[in-house]
Structures are given as C-alpha cells and as structure tokens.
C-alpha cells in the first residue's frame, strides 16, 4: 500500500471497518437488526472518515510534513510501507489490529522493530522474536518518526549501555525485578495461557534498556523513577557480562533450565551409561 491518494486511504479505512463488522461480536441479535446496525455504523464510519479527512487533510500537509526532520520523513515512508495496516494512518491505531503508537516513544519502536517482533507476521498471543526486517538505520528513522508524532520515552545514545556499570548491584536488582519471569540464568519462562517471558540471550543492550523503559506486551514498565538509568545500566551489565559473558565454571550448563534438565540428564546419561556397563559386565563372554 504505497499509494497515497485520499480515495485509497478512505478505502483502506472502510475495508478495515467492514471486516471488523463481518467478524464482529454480534451474538444473539437477529440477523435483520444486525444488518441494519451494520449498515448504520458503516454509514457513520464513512461519514466520519470522510469528514475527518476533509478536516485534517490540509492541516496534515500544512503542519505535519514541515515539522518532520529528515530522518522522520524517511521513517514515515517506511511506516507507510510496513506499519500502516495495523497501526493506522497517523499511528492512531486500528482496533483489533494494532494499538496506537502516539506517545509510545522511540524506545518502544526500537525494541519492537530491532528484535524483529514488528512488523508482525500474523496476529497471535505474543509477538515473537525474528530476524529484523529493517536495518539499524531504518529502525532509527522509524523510531524518529514515531517520536516526532507523539513523544514518549527515548533511549540514551550509544550501542554499549553498560560502561562503568556495576554488575554486582545489577545482579541484586535482576533477582528482585527480573528473575521471577526471565529465570535465574536469563533463559526465560512461561506465563499464563501461552504467553511467555522471552530468553535474554539474543537481546542487545539497547533492547533490554528499551524493554525495561516501555514494558512491551505483558512486561511491567520499569520507568526511570523506579529503576534509575544507572540501575538499568547495572542490570544490563549483569545480564550481558555475568549471565552471558561469564562462562560456566562447572562444565556444560544443561541450558540453565534448573533441576528439570538435571533430572533428565541423570537418566539419559548416568543411568543409561551404567546400564550399558552392567549389560557388559553380566554378559557371557
């Protein structure tokens, strides 16, 4: 959907509404009334959309475009290619498809896009980590665009956000705030009804920072008043240096899944090896 004509825009909006109406939750109402209601709503929506367009369209050209920085304009182009279907024309969100992006900030965009969670392949309980669609530059442009649209939390500059941080203090904070979901070794864990806290192994400094700051999906938000930027850096240092950088002292770590894999190992390795040995010992030869 690269074309930018008003008709197309209105059409897209209408299509969205139509599909919503078709799959809508109209339950026990009679078919006739439902159709009537649908028609009325469709009409109202069309009027609204058209009206809104006529009201805002000149303003959009007049106010929006000049205010966008160059990066923001680049970001808008990318947005219109990949995000507009679910998040709507001006990032105001499309019901049942995608939330509004007004005020989520650059941090949220960077987290979602750089970890490949957005754009989503399909609607599901939880967006999964994938290879990212956009490169760093494009991600930054998208983030810039959303930031300029509605403001919101932003990440500090730089790739390495843990310089001078204290992993020991970060460890204490990690155990109180993070390990209940992401587990002691950062391998992630299950949440209710198919949701999960992802593994921290592939996460970058900026992604961890952004996740704490914005609380993506079901993760609680850890704003700067709760965990100061320094504390966030400490946590990042603990995750990146201690959990990932510090190799295990006791040999192969069995995935750091705790006693479950240890129990599996004692049967698959210990008992199996010893049963084979006993077969050989008691065998005749």
């Amino acid at each position: 959907m690269t074309s930018d004509t008003p008709a197309d825009r209105r059409g897209g909006r209408t299509r969205g509404l139509l599909s919503r109406l078709r799959s809508g939750r109209s339950g026990p109402r009679s078919r006739g009334r439902r159709r009537l209601g649908a028609a009325a709503r469709l009409l109202a929506a069309l009027t609204l959309a058209g009206g809104a367009y006529t009201v805002f369209a000149p303003g959009l050209q007049a106010q929006d475009t000049p205010q966008l920085s160059i990066a923001g304009q680049e970001g808008k182009l990318l947005y219109d290619q990949s995000c507009v279907t679910c998040h709507g024309r001006n990032a105001q969100g499309v019901q049942d498809r995608g939330p509004s992006l007004i005020g989520v900030g650059a941090a949220s965009v960077e987290f979602q896009v750089s970890s490949g969670r957005m754009p989503m392949a399909r609607q599901e309980a939880q967006a999964e980590r994938k290879p990212p669609v956009f490169n760093d530059e494009q991600t930054r442009q998208l983030a810039q665009y959303v930031q300029e649209l509605g403001g919101g939390p932003q990440l500090p500059d730089g790739r390495d956000l843990k310089q001078g941080a204290d992993p020991a203090r970060g460890g204490q904070l990690y155990r109180v705030n993070c390990s209940s979901c992401h587990a002691f070794g950062g391998s992630g864990g299950a949440l209710s009804s198919g949701k999960y806290a992802p593994s921290l192994r592939p996460a970058s400094d900026r992604q961890i920072y952004a996740a704490m700051l914005t609380g993506p999906q079901n993760m609680p938000v850890f704003g700067d008043n709760q965990l100061t930027p320094e504390q966030k850096r400490d946590i990042i240092a603990y995750v990146q240096e201690t959990l990932k950088g510090d190799k295990d002292s006791g040999g192969f770590n069995l995935g750091r899944y705790g006693p479950v894999t240890e129990g599996l190992a004692i049967f698959l390795v210990g008992i199996t090896a010893l049963v084979f040995a006993s077969l050989w010992i008691a065998g005749k030869s």
Binding site: G171, G189, G250
Partner: protein, 539 residues
C-alpha cells in the same frame, strides 16, 4: 642349636595362622569366599545405589569440612565478583567459597549432587526390577520394606541437602516445605513453628537440617543399607528360572574370584561416571540463584527430580479448600492432599503390596525364582499403572519448563496433567496387560509348534505353508510336549544352533557362539533343551 632364619615367604602364612588363632576366621571366611551369586545385568541396579552412596559419603565428608551451617548474616567478600558485597547467610557464603575459593571444591560439590541424583534414580530402577520380577515375595518381604524405606529416607536426605546452601532455590524449597507442614490439620502450625524455631524462616533451620543431613539421616541410611545387604546375604539372591535352576539352589559364580572382581570393577565404573558428570555437567549453579530472600524467586524453580512428583501433584491439584464451620472456622488447605496424604498413601501401598499380593493369590510358599513380567500380567500391569502415574506427576512438576521450551500454553499443560493423571494409568494397565498376554501366547505357540524356519513349502494341493522346527520330540499329533519353565523360549533358528549364531556386538562382533557347557552330572530339564546353556541368562 639351629639358627633361626627369617623366612620371608612364610610371613603371610604365619600371619594368617596368627589371625585365625585369635579370631577364628577361617571357617566363616571359607563360606564367604565360596558364596555363590547369580549373575544378571538387572541385579546390578541396586549396586549403583550402594556405590553412589559410598561416593556420597566420601564427597560429603569433604564438604562438611568447609561448609558453615549458619544463617548468621555476612557480607560476601570471596572471589566470585558478581556477588561481592552482597549480604547473605554464612551458609550461602561458605557454599560459594566451596565453589570458588577452595581448590577442587566445585567438583566435589557437583559430584556430591550428581551422586545424590544417581542414588535416587538407581533406587527407583532397582525397585522396579524387584517389583516386576516378583523378587519381593516371601521370604523377602522385609527386604522390600527396607528398600522402600530407603527411598523415603534418601528422599529426606536429598531434600535436606538441597536446602543447605541457602541459595534462592533452597529457600524456595524450604518455603514450600513449611507451607506443607502448616497444612497439616490441627497440629500444622505447631509442627512448623517447632521445626523452624518460630516463624518462617527463623534462624536455626539450616543448622537443624545440617545435623539431620550429615548425621541422623546418613546413620539411618547406613543402618537400612546394612540390614538390606545382610538380608540379601542371609536369604541368598533370587535367580531367574532356567535349566538346572530350582527354588532350592543358586546357580552362578562364587564370590571369589569372579563376583568380587566384577563388583570392585563396577564400583570404579560408577565412581568414574559420577566423576565425569561432576566435572563435565554443571549442576545447581547456586551463584546464579543468589542468596535466599523472601521476595525473590526465579522462574523454573523446581525441586530435584525425585521430589518433582510431589511438586507435580501440587500443581495439578485444583484449589479446593475444605472449610470446617466450627467456632471461628477451620481450614484444610488444598496443598495438604497432594503433599501429605498422597505420599502417605504411596508409602502404605508400597509397604503393603507384598502382603496384599500374597493374600490375593493365597500364596504362602517361599519363592527364590524370579518371574518374567509377562507371566504375571496383573502385577506387571499394576506396575505400569503406578509408573505412568508417577511419570505424569514428575512431568507435571516440570510443566512450566516444558510449556516454555515447547511453546505450549502453561494452563494447557496443567489441564493435560490433570486429565492425563486420570486417563493414562488405566490405559497403561490395559495395554500392558494385553502385551503380556500376547507375549505369553507367542511363547506357548512356539513351544507347541516350533520355531519359524523361514522355509516355505508347497503342499501337493498347492497350498503354501511355513515349515516349523519343533523344539522337542513330536508326538503323534504333531505337537511337542515341552512345558514352559518360565524362561526365554528360543524363537529364532540360530538360537537352536540350526543356523549360524546371531552376531552380537555394537560395531563389530564381540563374541563367538557359546558352546553348550552343560555338565554331565546335571542333565538339563528336558532333552529338547540340550542346546540351552546354563549361565547368567540375560537375553
């Protein structure tokens, strides 16, 4: 006078003579050296438990020298940088020191933990062997009871040991243990308060668990293991049926030299496997869990595998609270049923089973010959039922990890466990029962009609049929009258010696066909089985 010459060669004999004059050992020693033990791979499962117990004693003694069983608060200043400056109990600090500041301490700790897992795993395997072969029957009921108690005492040993390091995982385990004790009707709060010395966690539980873990429980284990082995010795080991083997003899190898050598070698192997596990596989990285704090828990907090079935039953239990509306009202919380009542039932069932089975079968005989699982379909099926029950519970104990790694809904896993716990055991019973009957029938069929030769013959009327090689002499009806003696029926031509021997070995043949070492003094049970060999008889 002849000068006494010191004869070096005569020293051992003279010493032996001297010892015997004082302690009279020759006669009992002869009996000991000559004692005959039957030989089968499955008889070595119990040995794994015994040997890992010895490893546990050795490594555990090492650990006690460095461990400080105290909940006194200190600040960690050891060499593990990511925890430096953290407040923790002395117990946790000394566990960290064992891992990082004592040369070779980490491998000892890991070997101790792996040996504990192996101890429990081999007890369970050994118990299953004893159950499925009927080795618990008269006269060995007492030893079955001792063995079952060994599992539960080992369970306590494991749990107290798991609690000692006072890391996040042990503290969580202790917290749940205290909730389990609290749930006991009427006396729950008194029991908990008495054991923890006040409200959870108090400041004495680690010292109490320590003394239980290094003194009381090992003493109980030693006593039970001593009694267990003594009874095996006294009652002599069971053996599989087979040619020359009766209820009144033991066929096998004498203690000396072969049996003792095998035992010694196997000990070294068990020890070696534990050493490999302890060095190559990291177990319970306490430094990642951090010190125990009441507000901190890690996802995937599980007990060790042998406790996991209780954790699983707790997870599957619906939140049914029993409210007793007397006075202010009293409560029996839902955690009481899966963690106090269920283990109680399991202990009772396992201890009582030999007597129940004997009563059901009106069986008052002594049995020294084992039974093949297929020959007792009901028992085997009951065992399969119990095993599947246990396995469902154990898997449910790790259902959050399974849900997370396999991308299954956690709630779905819980429901699968709840439904599975009801459906799978009866299913296992039915299927096992049918399999046993099928195997039995096939044995009888081969005994009656002979072994399939793979040779197809065309009859004059044009029909095709496969030629069967009878196992024994054929009577006028074309049937041979070989009775089933409770042991493997040869089902392939090479087992009869009519074809080349089956080639054994993993990658290349490891053995030549065994000739038939049957003594002239002991004719086989029937002439048809001349080619069967006496021996340990695994296969």
């Amino acid at each position: 006078m002849k000068r006494r010459k010191f004869d070096l060669k005569s020293v051992p004999a003279a010493t032996a003579k001297g010892v015997d004059e004082r302690f009279q050992v020759a006669t009992p020693l002869r009996a000991l050296l000559n004692k005959v033990f039957p030989d089968h791979w499955s008889f070595l499962l119990g040995e794994i438990a015994l040997f890992s117990f010895i490893v546990l004693l050795l490594t555990g003694t090492f650990l006690t020298i460095f461990f400080e069983p105290s909940m006194k608060e200190t600040t960690y200043e050891g060499s593990y940088a990511p925890l430096r400056g953290v407040h923790m109990s002395a117990a946790y600090a000394s566990s960290l020191d064992l891992s990082f500041d004592i040369r070779g301490g980490l491998i000892m700790r890991q070997m101790h933990h792996w040996a504990a897992l192996l101890f429990m795993a081999s007890i369970v395997c050994h118990m299953l062997r004893v159950f499925f072969t009927g080795a618990f029957r008269k006269p060995r009921e007492t030893n079955w009871i001792i063995g079952s108690l060994l599992f539960w005492v080992g369970f306590l040993a494991g749990f107290t040991g798991y609690s000692l390091p006072d890391d996040g995982l042990s503290g969580t385990g202790l917290r749940i243990a205290s909730a389990i004790m609290l749930s006991i009707p009427v006396i729950g709060s008194w029991v908990t308060s008495s054991i923890f010395g006040g409200e959870f966690p108090g400041d004495i539980i680690i010292s109490r668990f320590f003394i239980a873990h290094v003194m009381l429980i090992p003493a109980a284990l030693l006593a039970l293991i001593g009694a267990h082995l003594g009874l095996v010795f006294k009652q002599k080991h069971t053996q599989w049926p087979g040619p020359g083997r009766t209820n009144d003899n033991v066929v096998g190898e004498r203690m000396f030299p072969r049996y003792a050598i095998k035992q010694g070698g196997y000990f070294m192997i068990v020890f070696g496997v534990i050493a490999l596990l302890g060095g190559l596989f990291q177990i319970n990285p306490i430094w990642l869990f951090g010190p125990y704090e009441a507000a901190v828990v890690s996802a995937a907090s599980q007990p060790d595998w042998y406790v996991m079935f209780l954790d699983g039953s707790t997870r599957l239990m619906p939140g049914w609270e029993l409210h007793i509306p007397i006075g202010n009202g009293y409560v029996i919380p839902p955690i009481f049923w899966p963690t106090v009542v269920l283990p109680g039932i399991l202990v009772g069932m396992s201890l009582g089973y030999p007597f129940v089975e004997a009563r059901m079968n009106k069986d008052k005989e002594s049995h020294n010959l084992l039974q093949r699982p297929r020959d007792v379909p009901e028992r085997t099926a009951l065992g399969a039922m119990a095993v599947s029950f246990y396995v469902v519970l154990t898997f449910s104990g790790g259902n959050d990890v399974i849900a997370d790694k396999m991308r299954i809904s956690l709630n779905a896993m819980t429901w699968a466990g709840r439904i599975g716990l009801i459906i799978i055991p009866p299913l296992a019973y039915y299927i096992t029962h049918r399999i046993c009957l099928g195997l039995q029938q096939h044995d009888r069929e081969v005994l009656a009609h002979g072994v399939e030769t793979g040779i197809i013959r065309r009859l004059p009327n044009g029909r095709f049929e496969e030629v069967h090689q009878p196992l024994g002499r054929v009577d006028e009806h074309g049937h041979d009258g070989l009775p089933y003696i409770g042991w493997t029926v040869p089902k392939k031509m090479n087992r009869l010696g009519a074809l080349g021997p089956a080639i054994k070995g993993f990658f290349y043949p490891i053995e030549k066909p065994a000739d038939s070492p049957v003594s002239p003094g002991h004719p086989p049970v029937s002439s048809g089985q001349e080619r069967e060999e006496i021996g340990s008889g695994h296969r």
